[in-house]
């Protein structure tokens, strides 16, 4: 058998090498997995390391600066003085203080001395008493002997070495009772001593507080020592994960991404951890000096708005509920920010940060610290988005009206049924076979009668509800029923095609219409207008005076006038330049005189305008207004006003004419309008109606036959959380996913296939998702018109507006947080919440300053500069505290405070600017009053304080003060005498009684500047003397003795002052021309 030629390839070969290699590979992968676990997935470690060093350098600088500042302050005279005061106080307090300290110490000694004896005595007695108690009553003798033992024990005396202070002691023999008494006495003694000592120290404490306050004010932020501590802390800074962990009860599945709330954001955004950067400090990129990698520097700034943490404590809210993002993930910025496919709650972009507020503050109109969001909300409302897109909570009066009307109709039909049923029953009762049935039937009839009377009651309430709702419900656009009276026929088609060129600042969006569509719509609009109502011609007025009125009366707080750079006035209402090209003079006069005036009332039940004929049928005068608002045909509430926000300025007929004349002059003289004969073609109109419905014009305008048209757009209440699949990017889906913009450029933020991307694209060009689509029939195209977001200066779409709206929409999500997070206050804050809706609705802030640092449109008007500043409308920051709510209600209902002479201001008749009549609904007035009271945190309801009447001496003294040359009140305050009031600059005192709140008035007379800075009312009329105010001017000798409070006296006097009293005094004081002190 031959030998094998070579070694066996299987048994002969060693595998050690390959084994070694593969084992080594295995080791490598294991090492890799370890690395990725501890470093690869923890990028924040690097951030923290960088931050620690950068922050230390920063602190180093800060410490140096702070130490210098502190040195400066400590050497300042004020500080020295306060310090001296403190020392003095301590000095003066010291002896007493020590004395008390000594006595307290002694009391303690004495107590400790008797304690052991007392305890054993108490123990012994207690035990013996128990012995007594366990002997049955029956066994008298035994009980008595036991009692004797107790007495014996009580009588037994103990020797106590009783300290007397200064180390002296005496031996006292004390029995149980003495010990007991002594012990309790000593306790009481000590308590009283401690109290007295505190009393002594109080002066010291006050001085200390003063000092601290001074230092705090002069040296805000942490002290040098504090900073030093911080720095030391940082030097031993431990690189570790920072996380906030909250699991509120009732958290929903998708609460912050589905896992309760664990936010580790601070692991990278380390500077946002209050423990690292105290809330009193702010850290910006600049502060850290070194410029780091873009990925690095962002995390190192502290929260830009630290105040928010006062109401949103991190440990309750964390970060992601407001900001979005995947708070748990730390392995990369992308994942942490949740900006990857499949994460439903991505981090809001910087420009949309405030979207988070809307999650909980959905019922706010104005949310502090959230300007962008607020802007978005008001844009949504004022630009008429609401006309097509329902948004729960926003202007839902119409919806409520419809429901009320349905209820009314239903009740009426029931009532009608009853009215048929009752006689039928009675009749049956009459022909009933036997008495029982007859009784039953009658009873039934009676009950029905009662029922229907109940229904009457309900109907009444519902009617009043609907009338007030009708007052509240406004439309964004003007009433188109009166086009024929109001507008120049040819202008309409031009407007439809060139909306934004004709009036660059208009709210009306630009529709995309084919030429034939324009003609149809225009024709319909023209023909649906009320025909045959002629306005009687009016003579032209004085344009010059008109201009003056427009500029002074306050029109410009809402309206603007002039084009491009020359524009002045507010952007709340239309720009009035070129109004002359479209308007009809007579109509304009009527409008200016009272914008709410209507040609024909509208009956929502008959769904038609009520004509004089209808009234004639019922032999009623053709008269309709808020007091005559019942329909002559069916007695229902009529629409008797124009549904416009614009209030009546109560101008006289002449003034109206002048204003109108001035406005008619606002036009481009060279503008030409092609004739539009087709406007009267009924066929076109018929086609137009369908178009008008299709484009939802009736959402903003009142149009004959379309009064009850619903909103045509999608509801946007929860648009922010609509699944992306439901947002149709059409041909741009792929581009969006790949970060390719519509203009072909690449998107700076990468893929934009998300709600933000959709909203932005849509707002910039609502037709965008029709591009590259084949839709020959206009009716198939996207119908959303282009909202007017163009900035009149740059003529570009205003990015801020877009951001604001996008922010608002992004925030509009179905609630993800537990309900207790929602901001639904029940207290004053609720009143404020509600009030803002009305304040912004009627643009009160155009004229009045309501918020502390809020600007008004008016204060920037050229007319109200320089000396005219004094003639600005009153500042309302403390209105709630100033006026009596009942009065305020009356005033808001009728600001002229008079039924006859209305062409004036009720309170400040001397002002040219006019508080208009808004004919608010009672409901709105109520809300407003509560709002003002809440703003200045007044108790509700208001109970007027009882003030005792003046004695004769007081009266005379008060008169003396009132007419004192040092304070000639009537020099400025109006009296109602026209001659005098010509140059009055303050309200009439006779109003004070019902209008003002006494406590406020008192604070006011003593220091008005404190309440309204910059008021022309002089301060310093009174000076503080002990616990009372004393007049600063010369006081007639006979009253020097008066011990009462002068300010209080003055106010009480004014509260009771009468017109003729004023007249009498006016004569006296008129001589005194001396300017009051303090001026």
């Amino acid at each position: 058998m031959p030998e094998p030629s070579g070694p066996d390839p299987i048994t002969g070969k060693s595998w050690s090498t390959i084994m070694l290699v593969s084992t080594f590979l295995l080791m490598l992968t294991v090492a890799w997995s370890l690395w990725s676990e501890f470093f690869g997935l923890r990028p924040w470690r690097a951030y923290q390391r960088d931050f620690a060093s950068a922050y230390q350098d920063f602190l180093g600088k800060q410490i140096a600066a702070q130490t210098k500042a502190e040195a400066a302050v400590y050497s300042s005279p004020e500080y020295k003085k306060l310090k001296a005061d403190l020392d003095a106080a301590q000095q003066s307090a010291k002896p007493k203080d020590d004395e008390f300290a000594r006595r307290i110490a002694l009391a303690d000694l004495q107590r400790t001395a008797i304690t052991p004896a007392f305890q054993s005595a108490r123990g012994q007695v207690g035990a013996l008493i128990y012995q007594v108690e366990i002997i049955p009553e029956s066994n008298k003798s035994a009980r008595d002997s036991a009692k004797k033992d107790v007495d014996g024990a009580k009588a037994e005396t103990y020797e106590v070495e009783y300290p007397l202070g200064d180390g002296k002691t005496e031996i006292r023999k004390m029995n149980y009772d003495q010990l007991n008494a002594g012990f309790t006495d000593l306790m009481a003694l000590k308590a009283s001593l401690v109290a007295q000592q505190a009393e002594v120290d109080s002066s010291v404490k006050i001085a200390q507080i003063k000092l601290n306050e001074f230092v705090k004010e002069k040296l805000p932020g942490p002290s040098a020592a504090g900073l030093q501590n911080l720095r030391n802390a940082m030097s031993t800074f431990k690189i570790d994960m920072h996380q906030i962990n909250v699991n509120p009860p009732g958290a929903m599945l998708n609460y912050v991404g589905g896992i309760g709330l664990v936010d580790r954001c601070q692991s990278c955004h380390i500077a946002m951890d209050p423990l690292v950067v105290p809330v009193t400090m702010t850290l910006t990129k600049a502060d850290l000096g070194r410029t780091m990698a873009a990925s690095h520097d962002a995390p190192f700034t502290s929260h830009p708005d630290q105040d928010l943490f006062n109401w949103h404590p991190l440990e309750k809210f964390g970060c992601s509920p407001c900001h979005g993002g995947n708070g748990r993930a730390l392995d990369s910025a992308e994942r942490g920010h949740g900006r990857y496919e499949h994460w439903l709650w991505p981090l809001n972009y910087r420009e949309n940060f405030t979207a988070g507020c809307q999650n909980c503050h959905a019922s706010d109109m104005v949310t502090e610290h959230a300007e962008v969001l607020n802007r978005g909300r008001s844009l949504y409302r004022t630009r008429g988005c609401i006309g097509c897109h329902k948004y729960s909570g926003f202007d839902d009066e119409n919806e409520r009206l419809t429901t009320t009307r349905q209820q009314i109709m239903q009740l009426e039909s029931t009532k009608h049924d009853y009215s048929i049923e009752i006689p039928r029953l009675n009749h049956q009762a009459d022909i009933a076979p036997d008495n029982d049935t007859a009784h039953k039937l009658n009873a039934r009839a009676t009950s029905l009668t009662i029922e229907s009377s109940k229904i009457d009651a309900q109907l009444q309430t519902l009617e009043s509800v609907s009338s007030s709702l009708m007052r509240e419900s406004k439309r964004v656009g003007p009433d188109l029923k009166e086009v024929r009276m109001k507008l120049r026929k040819e202008w309409i088609p031009v407007w439809l095609t060139q909306t934004h060129t004709f009036r660059p600042t208009t709210k009306m969006p630009q529709f995309r219409l084919e030429q034939d569509e324009v003609q149809k719509i225009a024709a319909f609009i023209w023909q649906q207008g009320i025909a045959g109502q002629k306005l009687n011609p009016v003579a032209p007025g004085n344009a010059g005076h008109g201009k003056e009125l427009v500029e002074s009366r306050g029109c410009l707080s809402c309206h603007s006038i002039g084009e491009d750079s020359k524009t002045i006035g507010g952007d709340f209402a239309a720009n009035l330049s070129r109004i002359g090209e479209k308007e009809n003079y007579e109509y304009l006069v009527r409008w200016v005189h009272n914008p709410r005036e209507r040609t024909l009332p509208y009956c929502p039940f008959e769904k038609k305008d009520i004509t004089p004929e209808d009234y004639k049928k019922h032999r009623l005068p053709f008269q309709f207004d808020l007091d005559h608002s019942r329909c002559p045909n069916d007695g229902h509430q009529l629409e008797v006003q124009q549904p416009t926000i614009m209030p009546s300025l109560r101008l006289s007929d002449e003034d109206s004419r002048d204003v109108a004349t001035y406005l008619m002059a606002q036009k481009h003289t060279n503008a030409t309008y092609p004739p539009a004969p087709y406007m009267d073609d009924p066929k076109l109109a018929a086609a137009g109606r369908a178009l008008v419905q299709h484009y939802g014009c009736a959402g903003c305008h009142e149009i004959t036959g379309l009064e009850d048209e619903g909103r045509i757009g999608t509801e946007l209440t929860n648009e922010g959380s609509k699944p992306i699949e439901r947002l149709d990017f059409a041909r741009y889906t792929e581009d969006a996913k790949r970060g390719m913009l519509i203009n072909g450029k690449t998107s700076p933020r990468g893929p934009w296939y998300d709600s933000k991307g959709f909203f932005e694209a849509k707002l910039n060009d609502p037709a965008v998702f029709d591009h590259a689509k084949f839709k020959p029939d206009p009716m198939d195209r996207l119908r959303m018109p282009a909202p007017n977001l163009t900035d009149p200066k740059t003529h570009q779409i205003d990015k801020n507006d877009v951001d604001a709206l996008v922010t608002f929409l992004l925030g509009s999500v179905d609630p993800q947080l537990p309900t207790e997070y929602m901001y639904r206050p029940a207290d004053r804050r609720h009143a404020i919440q509600e009030g803002w809706w009305i304040v912004t609705k009627y643009n009160c802030i155009g004229c009045h300053q309501i918020g502390i640092d809020q600007k008004t449109t008016m204060q920037d008007l050229p007319f109200y500069q320089a000396e005219n500043k004094a003639n600005l409308p009153p500042v309302l920051t403390s209105e709630g505290a100033r006026v009596n709510p009942e009065w305020l209600k009356r005033f808001l209902a009728n600001p002229s405070l008079s039924t006859t002479d209305t062409n004036k201001n009720g309170v400040r008749n001397y002002l040219q600017v006019r508080m208009p009549t808004f004919s608010l609904a009672d409901n709105e007035i109520r809300k407003l009053v509560l709002f003002f009271e809440a703003l200045s945190s007044q108790e509700e309801p208001y109970i007027a304080p009882k003030s005792e009447s003046l004695t004769n001496t007081e009266t005379t003294f008060a008169r003396a003060l009132f007419t004192n040359p040092a304070a000639p009140c009537l020099k400025c305050h109006a009296t109602g005498d026209p001659a005098h009031d010509k140059n009055a600059t303050a309200p009439n005192f006779t109003l004070a009684a019902e209008r003002l709140r006494e406590p406020w008035a008192e604070r006011w007379v003593t220091d008005p500047a404190k309440i309204i800075p910059g008021t022309s009312m002089p301060s310093g009329l009174f000076r503080r003397e002990g616990d009372r105010w004393v007049f600063t001017g010369a006081i007639p000798s006979e009253f020097r003795s008066y011990a009462g409070d002068h300010a209080n006296l003055m106010v009480r006097y004014l509260m009771g002052i009468t017109p003729d009293e004023q007249r009498r005094l006016q004569g006296r004081s008129s001589g005194g021309g001396a300017s009051p002190p303090g001026k």
């Binding site: 299987i10 997995s33 676990e37 599945l253 589905g258 896992i259 309760g260 664990v262 748990r328 392995d331």
Partner: protein, 312 residues
């Protein structure tokens, strides 16, 4: 003399101690040496022998015994066909499949510590695994990818077995077992798909189970199903999902199938599979090639059903 005695006594005592000390020293050093000697060959120690019955040396006997006497190894025969160690023949897919099954069991058990099969928590738990649990992400990834890999391995295993004709006599039955194991593997993977309770799993399972609607006779959309009174609420799909839609019950069922039922069944079949590999004469080849001329034609009557597999 008395002091003498005392002297002696004292001395004697002292000396006695000395001697004992000497003795002890000697004893310890000797024993110590002995101990060290013993430790030089650990495989001789009682401890070692109690665990490994046989010496680890290169004698044929020990090699055989080390396999036979080891509960894990004795799935194998002591010796195998020399060429059966060649990768080019076996591809090793069967072994890899089994190894992956072990990996999956291991990672799966670990995952079970963190997972609740409930609508509220399932998804949270996955996020928790990804972001909080140490090595959680790796764990989950390994489990998922191992599952995919296992399916591929199973298919390739079957492919190989077919191409080498290893299903032929006498291994017909084991092939059937193998087919069942493949089905079980796919079912394992499928039931696991739903557990994260995310869109992917949800819709995959919805699509998958929707087919069951159309089961003939038993599905409410299948042939003759409606005629037999099948509705969405009593048909086979309802039985699978524990409801008419993929919901909490479906999740729970998937979980139990995935973690308990199917693994149990699969391991039983695996035991059978491996055991049969041995009993059917070990791994099938590489066998010596056979020639057409060597086919012996059966004589005798044809059996009614099928011929008895002619095992010699």
């Amino acid at each position: 003399m008395a002091e003498d005695n005392g002297e002696q006594k004292r001395k004697g005592l002292l000396g006695k101690f000395k001697d004992d000390a000497e003795g002890l020293k000697k004893y310890v050093s000797e024993k110590g040496k002995e101990q060290l000697e013993g430790l030089k060959e650990p495989e001789k120690t009682q401890l070692y022998r109690s665990i490994f019955r046989f010496k680890h040396d290169e004698t044929a006997r020990n090699r055989a015994l080390s396999v036979l006497s080891n509960v894990f190894f004795h799935l194998h025969p002591a010796k195998v066909n020399r060429d059966a160690t060649k990768y080019s023949y076996t591809w090793g897919m069967g072994g890899i499949t089994f190894y992956l099954f072990i990996v999956l069991t291991f990672t799966g058990v670990l995952l079970m510590y963190y997972y609740h099969p409930s609508k509220v928590q399932a998804f949270r738990d996955i996020l928790y695994l990804e972001n909080d649990v140490p090595f959680g992400k790796l764990l989950r990834n390994m489990h998922r990818w191992a599952a995919h890999l296992m399916i591929i391995a199973v298919w390739l295993h079957m492919f190989r077995v077919f191409l080498t004709g290893s299903y032929k006599k006498p291994r017909e039955f084991n092939w059937c077992v193998g087919v069942l194991l493949m089905v079980l593997t796919m079912l394992l993977s499928f039931t696991g798909y739903l557990l994260p309770d995310d869109q992917l799993g949800f819709w995959a399972v919805t699509v998958g189970t929707n087919m069951a609607r159309a089961t003939p006779l038993l599905g409410h959309e299948g042939p003759f199903g409606p005629q037999l009174g099948m509705t969405p609420y009593n048909d086979v799909r309802f039985a699978l999902l524990g409801g008419s839609i993929v919901d909490a019950n479906a999740l729970l069922r998937a979980y139990i199938w995935h973690c308990i039922a199917i693994p149990l069944i699969a391991s039983i079949f695996m035991a059978l599979h491996f055991w049969r590999v041995r009993k059917d004469g070990g791994i099938s080849g590489p066998a010596p090639v056979m020639l057409e001329s060597e086919i012996k034609d059966e004589k005798g009557p044809r059996p009614v059903i099928m011929k008895p597999s002619g095992m010699q």
